[in-house]
Every structure is written in structure tokens, then in C-alpha cells.
Symmetry: C2
Subunit: 205 residues, 2 copies
Amino acid sequence: MPSQNSSQSGRSPQRQRGRERVAALLSAASACFVERGYDATTMTEIAARAGASIGSLYQFFPTKESVAEALMLDHAEALYARMERLLEHVPGWDTNELAGRLIRTFADYRKQHPSFVALQEATGSQPSLLGRTIRQRMRDYLCQILAIHAPKLAAGDLRPAAMVVQQLMKAATALQNEQPATLRQSAQTQLQRALALYLQELASE
Amino acid sequence: MPSQNSSQSGRSPQRQRGRERVAALLSAASACFVERGYDATTMTEIAARAGASIGSLYQFFPTKESVAEALMLDHAEALYARMERLLEHVPGWDTNELAGRLIRTFADYRKQHPSFVALQEATGSQPSLLGRTIRQRMRDYLCQILAIHAPKLAAGDLRPAAMVVQQLMKAATALQNEQPATLRQSAQTQLQRALALYLQELASE
DNA sequence: CTCCAATGTGAGGGTAGCCTCACATATCTG
DNA sequence: CAGATATGTGAGGCTACCCTCACATTGGAG
């Protein structure tokens, strides 16, 4: 009873060799997406870069989208882990520290993982189910963080506030593309200040 | 001495009939972009919807990108006009009123002009020169607005602040897609509050 | 009316990428 | 070793789109 259907495409690897191939394919895909963007990279390129044939690629990934999804799942796990870590430290941070961490968490991850940026930009056009799931779960983490930082806040006000914080984090990533560097840094500092002001208001009700 | 080169594609209309055709083509393109997205709509579709042949379309627009650019130019003019109007009223508004207007100006325009949204999303992937120009000029308007609202602010702090405000306006547009409506409205109100807090701090230095 | 530039047409050449398929090789199990 | 299953191959079918081109039609100027 195979876990997938019996068609040729879309099986998951059963042997060691298969797992290695999948890893090589994903690594190659990641590099291609970074260098040429999601839309511009072709399945043929990915296979060639991984030293595999096009048929081998289709054996494990029935579509280009499924390749992106597999990569995105990894990024999602890493992001969740960062949010968990954040959650642990919230009680020990004041408003300013929390604002800075929130701004940086997301922005730093994007800087360290360019393929996540490439995939995010591509997904932006036609929002995928996976993308929605990730955003939703990130918002849940923010709700937990806010519940700790602003314990007096009514439960019904938690979600809207989390949405605002989420948007401010996204704004921070948008600022990463700005030039020159001094202007960018000033803007990031100012954005952190704006977030701190808002967090302060939430906590002081 | 023609304004364009003498090749078949890319001429601008010389006669009344030509101008009408261009208008019909742009209108059709706008509708297609809204319904199917920029990437998915084809030049053939645009021509068919305008009741023109594919050759006629290429006569005036050498590439799909040039169609998008023509539409974007119209949107840019309309947006500049709105910012001018905003600029006139700034002296009479308090911080809260200004925050609300800033949040709504951009968000309202997107609601009224879906084709602008479609084009923005498409341009997001590979930033165009026109897109950069528009964002830059919008930022200049924000600098002027802030100079009025926060006269004590140092000239060097104007641009970073404008960038932050610009990002908050963009955040407001992102919230437009949220469901359900009550949650969306709460979040928008909260975002307006965050902007007001930031504007207040800028003005009170 | 005549002529010419502007406008209009749509079949089709060229390109490119997605994915399949028939078959080959590798690895495991007994 | 023998059978079974997983993995590997790449030529090519298929589709879709961009854009050109040779030619037709229109409308205004002289």
C-alpha cells in the first residue's frame, strides 16, 4: 500500500540513494531560485544543476510548485523555531527590546536565507495554501507574545494587534532593499521606534 | 520626423481612430489584468477583448510590459493628484485626522482601481523603473507633509520618517485582503492608531 | 479623385518550457 | 541467483505564447 498513488510522478524516496537525490535536487532548486527567481528557473535547469536527469526530477516532484513547497516547508519549520525562542524570552524584555527583536527576527532570517526571499516574492502573486498557513501560524505566535507582553489587553483585541505587529515586521523586511545603507538604517531604527510606541500603548491600557 | 522609430511596432496614434483604439486596448488590458492577473493575461486576450486583431495591438504596444506601463502612468497621475490634495489640507488636521487620511488615501485608491492592484502585484517581482519613480515621488510628497506636520523635525530625519510612513500606508493596503470584515476593520483602526502615535512623537520633539 | 500614411488583419514562424513514456540500471530481499 | 521494486534517463510530444510580416482597408490632404 504505497503512500502515494501508483503513477510515475510524486513518489517520496524509499532508499538512501533517493533521499540523497531529493536533497541534491532541493539544494539545486534553492540556488536556481535565488539566482534567477522562481518564475524564471526551469525544471530542466534544476535537474541539470543537481546532476540529475529531467525524468529523475519529475519522479519526486510532479510540478515546479511542489519543489517550492518542499523548500517552503523547511523555511516554515525554521521560522517557527525562531518564534518559539522569542516566546521564551518575552518576559525578560522591556518594550524597546521586544520591538527590536520582533523587527530583526524576520529581517535577519531573510538575510540569511535568500531562497526564502525568492520564494516569498514568487508566492506573492498567487497566494498559496502553504503561505496562508505560515502567515496564520506566525500570527498565532504573535498573539501569544502579545498576551505575555500586554496581559491587560482584552482577548478580542489580541488578534487585530497581532496583525498590525505582523505588518510592521513585514515593513521591516521591505526596508532591507533600500539604499543607501545609512538611510536604510535610520528608517529601520525609526520603524522600531514606531513599533515600540505601539507596543507600549498596548501594554499600558 | 516621427517621434518613434520607423519600425512597425510602438508608434503612437496619429488619428482619431488610433486614439480610440489605444483607449479600447488599454481598457481591455485593464480588465484582463484584474480578472486573470498580469502574468496570466496574454496579448491575444487583450486584443480580442478590445475587438482588435493581435497585429493592431502590437502596432501601438511593442510588448506587454509597455501596455502595463501606459496604464501605470495614468494611475501615477491620479495618485499624485491625491497627494497634492492631501498636502493642501495638512495644516488644518490634527495628528489623528492626518493618520486616518494617510491610511485611507492609498487603501481607497486601490479599492476603487483594481487594475492598479493587479499591476502592483505583478511589478513586485521584478521592480520596474516606473515603479521606483512612483515610490520615490510618493516619498517626496510624504516628506513635504511631514515638514508641515512636524516643523521642528531636523531635515535629515525627514526622509527616514517618510519611509516609515510609506511602509505603514503599504501595510494598510495589505490588511484590505483580510477576512472577516470585523477583524479587518479592527486591525485597520489599530494600524491607524500606531501611525498616529508615531506622528505624534515626530511632532513633539 | 488620387495618393499616401495611418491603421487593421490574422496566419504562422520561432521559441520555450512542462511533463510523459518506454525503457535501462541499481538495490534490496529471499 | 532471481524476482521485485526503486531509481535513472532523455528524446520528444504537446501546449502556449510572443511577435512578425505581407498585405488589405481607411481616411484625410491636395
